[in-house]
C-alpha cells in the first residue's frame, strides 16, 4: 500500500500549491486527482487574481489593508478578518513567486504585471494574463510540480477517507481507467477538491465539480461551514452557462435590458456594472421578472463600444467563447447572458493553516472555508485564496506529517479497502431500480428552484424535503453496467448520496438563516440582521441529517457597517 507523508486530494491550483510547499519543506508529497491536473476547473478562470501591487497609476496607493477592508465589506462582514488579513498580507509574495516561476502575466508599458479593476474593488488590483489567467497559472504550477517531481496519481478518485482513533489515516481511491481500488496511507491528507457548482442546474463550473470532495470530508466527520452562501454570477452565456468573466465589465462593458437601458443605474448607481456580483445577479433576475429581458430569459452584455482592438487584446478568450458557444462575435453584437451558480463560499471548516476539525485532515482552495469570502466572494480573490492557503496548508501538512511518526497500523486502511470493495460489488449486484441521472437531475432542479438567487421559507422547506426524499431513493441506486474499465456510471452512483447530503447542508443552512446577507437573499427577510445572524453556520452530519451550530465571526478591525454600492 503506497504511503505518502502528505497526500493531497485534488490537482487544481490549491492542491498543486500545497504539494509543492510540502516539497519545499523537505517532505515528500503526492497528488491524487480525478482528472489530469491540467483538466482541473482552475484552468477555466479567466479574469485574474487580486494582489495590492500598486502597479497601475490609479492603483499606486493600494495596500494590503485596503484590499482586506474591501474584502471584508464585500463579504458583508461575515469573513474572518484575521484570515482576510493573512491573505492580503501574503498576496504580493505569492503573485511574484508565480511570476518568477514563469506565469505569463499581461504587462504594463513599464513591463510590470498588469492590473485591472474588478467588482467591489476601488483600485485596479486584479493581476491578469489576458483573460486566461487560470489556464496560465495552472500550467505554471503544474510545470513546477514536474520540476520538483511531485508524484501525481492521474485519474484516481478518492472514494472515502479512512479515520481511525480520531485521526485521518489515508484514503481509499479508484483508478477509473483500470477499475483498480487501492488505499493510500498518509501522514496528513489535504483536501483540494474544488467547488460544488454541479449541485445546481445552471452553473459556470466544470462538469466534474460535483461536490464529492466536500461529501468525503463531511461524512468522515469534518463539519462544513457557511454552505448557504453560494455565489451566482450575473453573466454566463445564455444556454450553456459558460462564464463571461467579470473582466468584460472590468473593461467597461455595459449590461442592457430590452429597452436598451443600462439597468444597473437603478440598482447600484455608483458602481454600475461593477457592483459586486450578488447585487448584479439579483438585478438581472429582477429585470427578467419585470419583463425587461429578452424571451424572458436573458439580458445583453454589450462590448461593442470598446472597439475591436481592445477586445482582441484584453478579452480574446471571451470573444472566442462567445463565437464558439453562442455564435455571436462581441465586436459586432452584444452577448446574451443569464445568471448561473458560480462559486461555493462555504466548505470544509478550517483555520488559517488549513486544519479542519478532524485531526490529520486539512483543506485549501474552493472546497475549504477558512472564511475569507464570508457571505460573498470578490472576483479575483479565489485564485488568490488557492495559492495563499494552498501554501499554508502544504506547510502545516508537512509539519504534521513530520511530527506524527506513523504509528498507526495498516488494519483500518485494509478494512476500509474491503468495505469499499464490498460496497462496489453490492452496487453492481443491487436489485435497485434507480438510475443516477434522474435523481441527479431532480436534485439540481430542486437546488436551482428552491435554494437559488432569491429564497424564502416555503421554497427552502420544499427543497429540504425533496432532497431527503431523493436521499431515500438513492438507497436503491443501481449502475446500468458492471464493467471494470472507465466505469463512469459506477462513479456517478458512488458520489450521488454524498452530493445529496452536501445539498441538504446548503438548503438547511439557508432555511435557518432568516436574514439577507451577501449572496444569501431571503425575500421574507430582506435585511441583514446582525443581532441574530452575525455568525458562521457549522453543519455537522448526524444520522438524522445536518445539525447546525453557530460560530462567532472573527472581527478584529472593522466593525460591521452597511454595505452599499
Amino acid at each position: 500500500m503506497p504511503y505518502h507523508p502528505v497526500l493531497v486530494v485534488g490537482g487544481g491550483l490549491a492542491g498543486l500549491r500545497a504539494a509543492l510547499e510540502a516539497r519545499f519543506q523537505g517532505v515528500e508529497a503526492a497528488v491524487l486527482s480525478l482528472v489530469h491536473p491540467l483538466r482541473s476547473h482552475s484552468g477555466a478562470a479567466q479574469g485574474g487574481v487580486n494582489a495590492p501591487l500598486g502597479n497601475s497609476e490609479e492603483g499606486k496607493d493600494d495596500t494590503p489593508e485596503r484590499h482586506a477592508y474591501e474584502t471584508v465589506v464585500g463579504s458583508d462582514f461575515l469573513a474572518d478578518q484575521d484570515a482576510v488579513e493573512a491573505m492580503t498580507r501574503e498576496a504580493t509574495e505569492r503573485i511574484f513567486e508565480l511570476e518568477h516561476w514563469g506565469a505569463p502575466f499581461s504587462r504594463t508599458p513599464q513591463g510590470k504585471i498588469a492590473q485591472r479593476p474588478f467588482g467591489g474593488g476601488a483600485f485596479p488590483r486584479t493581476c491578469y494574463a489576458a483573460d486566461r489567467t487560470g489556464h496560465y497559472l495552472l500550467h505554471t504550477l503544474y510545470q513546477q510540480a514536474l520540476k520538483y517531481r511531485v508524484q501525481v496519481y492521474i485519474e484516481w478518485t478518492a472514494l472515502s477517507l479512512v479515520v481511525a482513533q480520531g485521526q485521518v489515516q489515508g484514503v481509499v481511491a479508484l483508478h477509473l481507467p483500470s477499475g483498480e481500488i487501492e488505499t493510500f496511507s498518509a501522514g496528513a491528507v489535504v483536501m483540494a477538491t474544488g467547488g460544488a457548482g454541479r449541485l445546481y442546474r445552471k452553473s459556470t463550473n466544470a462538469l466534474i465539480n460535483t461536490g464529492h470532495g466536500l461529501a468525503l470530508a463531511y461524512t468522515a466527520g469534518a463539519p462544513l461551514k457557511d454552505m448557504e452562501f453560494i455565489q451566482f454570477h450575473p453573466t454566463s452565456l445564455y444556454g450553456s452557462n459558460i462564464l463571461i468573466s467579470e473582466a468584460a465589465r472590468g473593461e467597461r462593458g455595459y449590461l442592457l435590458n430590452n429597452q436598451g437601458e443600462r439597468f444597473m443605474q437603478r440598482y447600484a448607481p455608483r458602481f454600475m456594472e461593477l457592483a459586486p456580483r450578488d447585487i448584479v445577479a439579483r438585478s438581472v433576475i429582477t429585470e427578467l421578472k419585470e419583463g425587461r429581458g429578452f424571451d424572458g430569459a436573458y439580458v445583453l452584455l454589450d462590448l461593442r463600444h470598446l472597439g475591436a482592438e481592445r477586445i482582441l487584446e484584453r478579452l480574446p478568450g471571451i470573444r472566442e467563447l462567445a463565437i464558439s458557444f453562442a455564435g455571436v462575435d462581441p465586436i459586432e453584437e452584444p452577448i446574451p447572458v443569464e445568471p448561473a451558480q458560480h462559486y461555493t463560499m462555504g466548505g470544509i471548516d478550517c483555520n488559517t493553516w488549513g486544519e479542519s476539525r478532524l485531526p490529520g485532515l486539512l483543506a485549501c482552495g474552493e472546497c475549504a472555508c477558512v472564511s475569507v469570502h464570508g457571505a460573498n466572494r470578490l472576483g479575483g480573490n479565489s485564485l488568490l485564496e488557492t495559492v495563499v492557503f494552498g501554501q499554508r496548508a502544504g506547510r502545516r501538512a508537512a509539519e504534521l506529517a513530520r511530527a506524527g511518526a506513523s504509528t498507526s497500523s495498516e488494519e483500518p486502511l485494509k478494512k476500509a479497502l474491503e468495505e469499499a470493495r464490498t460496497m462496489i460489488e453490492g452496487f453492481k449486484r443491487s436489485n435497485g431500480n434507480e438510475d443516477p441521472a434522474s435523481i441527479r437531475e431532480e436534485m439540481r432542479r430542486a437546488m436551482w428552484e428552491g435554494v437559488g438567487i432569491f429564497r424564502e421559507k416555503e421554497g427552502l422547506e420544499g427543497a429540504v424535503a425533496r432532497l431527503q426524499e431523493l436521499g431515500e431513493r438513492a438507497r436503491r441506486l443501481r449502475p446500468a453496467h458492471g464493467g471494470q474499465f472507465f466505469n463512469q456510471d459506477l462513479l456517478r452512483c458512488w458520489e450521488l448520496p454524498g452530493q445529496l447530503l452536501v445539498a441538504e447542508a446548503i438548503a438547511g443552512g439557508a432555511l435557518r438563516r432568516e436574514e439577507s446577507r451577501g449572496s444569501h437573499f431571503r425575500l421574507d427577510f430582506p435585511q441583514r440582521d446582525d443581532a441574530r445572524f452575525l455568525h458562521h453556520t457549522l453543519a455537522h452530519l448526524t444520522p438524522e441529517g445536518p445539525r447546525f451550530e453557530p460560530r462567532d465571526v472573527a472581527i478584529t478591525r472593522w466593525p460591521p457597517e452597511v454595505r452599499k454600492y
Binding site: 513591463g111 486566461r132 513546477q144 466544470a206 467563447l321 464493467g483
Partner: protein
C-alpha cells in the same frame, strides 16, 4: 441526426464496433452534450472524458468525421446526417472514446517544460515588455489536448518523436524573455527525435482547436538551434 460511436471494451473480448445512437439536435447543443445525453438516457456504459465543457481544459479531444476535435467545441448544427465519432487515432484505446494519454504526457516531461532561471529572483516581478510578452500569446495557450499529436504522420512512424505539442512547449520557454535555460533547453530538442524529425506536414496547424501554429514554433526552434550551434563553435 445519428451518431455512430466507436465502442470497445477490453473486458468483453469482442472486437471493436460502432453503435448507432439517434440524437435530437437542440439549438446550441454541442457534441459533448449529445454524448452526455446518450450516456444518461441510452447507454450508461459509454465512456468518454470531459471536464470544463468550454474548450479550455483539453479533456475531450476525439475524432469526429475522421478529424481530431474537441467534442465540447463541436456544435451539432455544423454536422450532418450520419456522424462518425471515434477515439483519437494512434493512441491505445482504454475504453470506447477514452485513450491512453500517458505516451503523450511523457513527451512533455522530456523537454523540461518549465522556466529556467540562473540568477536569484528580484524582490518584485521580473520585468517583461509588452512586446516580449506578446511572443507568448499563442504558444502558451496550448491545452495539451493531443489533437495535433494524434494527427501527425511523423508521430505515427516512430513513437520516439517528441511531436508538435511538446516542441511547441519547448518553444514557449525558448521564446520567453525571462528564460535563462539557453542552450540547455535547446539541447533537448536539437536532436533527431526533436525538431529535426518534423517534416512540416502542417496537420497540427489544421487540427489545433486553439488555433495555434505548432509548425511555426518548430521552425523557429530549428533556427534557434542552428544559431546556437553556430555560436558554440
Amino acid at each position: 441526426m445519428t451518431l455512430n460511436v466507436f465502442r470497445f471494451d477490453p473486458e468483453a473480448g469482442r472486437p471493436p464496433r460502432y453503435d448507432r445512437f439517434p440524437v435530437e439536435a437542440m439549438p446550441g447543443m454541442s457534441l459533448l452534450e449529445a454524448l452526455t445525453e446518450i450516456a444518461e438516457r441510452q447507454d450508461p456504459s459509454l465512456a468518454f472524458r470531459y471536464s470544463c465543457r468550454g474548450a479550455v481544459c483539453g479533456s475531450c479531444a476525439m475524432s469526429v468525421q475522421g478529424r481530431p476535435r474537441l467534442a465540447c467545441q463541436t456544435q451539432l448544427k455544423d454536422l450532418r446526417g450520419e456522424v462518425l465519432v471515434a477515439p483519437l487515432p494512434h493512441l491505445p484505446v482504454i475504453k470506447d472514446l477514452v485513450v491512453e494519454m500517458g505516451p503523450f504526457y511523457q513527451r512533455f516531461e522530456e523537454i523540461m517544460p518549465y522556466l529556467i532561471r540562473r540568477t536569484p529572483p528580484p524582490e518584485r516581478e521580473l520585468l517583461q515588455a509588452p512586446r516580449e510578452r506578446r511572443l507568448l500569446d499563442e504558444v502558451a495557450d496550448c491545452v495539451w489536448c493531443g489533437a495535433c499529436y494524434a494527427s501527425c504522420p511523423t508521430v505515427r512512424q516512430g513513437p520516439s518523436y517528441l511531436g508538435p505539442a511538446a516542441l511547441l512547449q519547448a518553444y514557449r520557454f525558448a521564446a520567453d524573455s525571462r528564460d535563462e535555460g539557453g542552450r540547455e533547453g535547446l539541447r533537448l530538442v536539437d536532436r533527431e527525435e526533436g525538431v529535426w524529425r518534423c517534416h512540416t506536414v502542417f496537420n497540427c496547424v489544421e487540427v489545433c482547436p486553439k488555433k495555434i501554429n505548432p509548425a511555426r514554433a518548430i521552425q523557429a526552434l530549428k533556427r534557434k538551434a542552428l544559431l546556437g550551434r553556430f555560436k558554440l563553435w
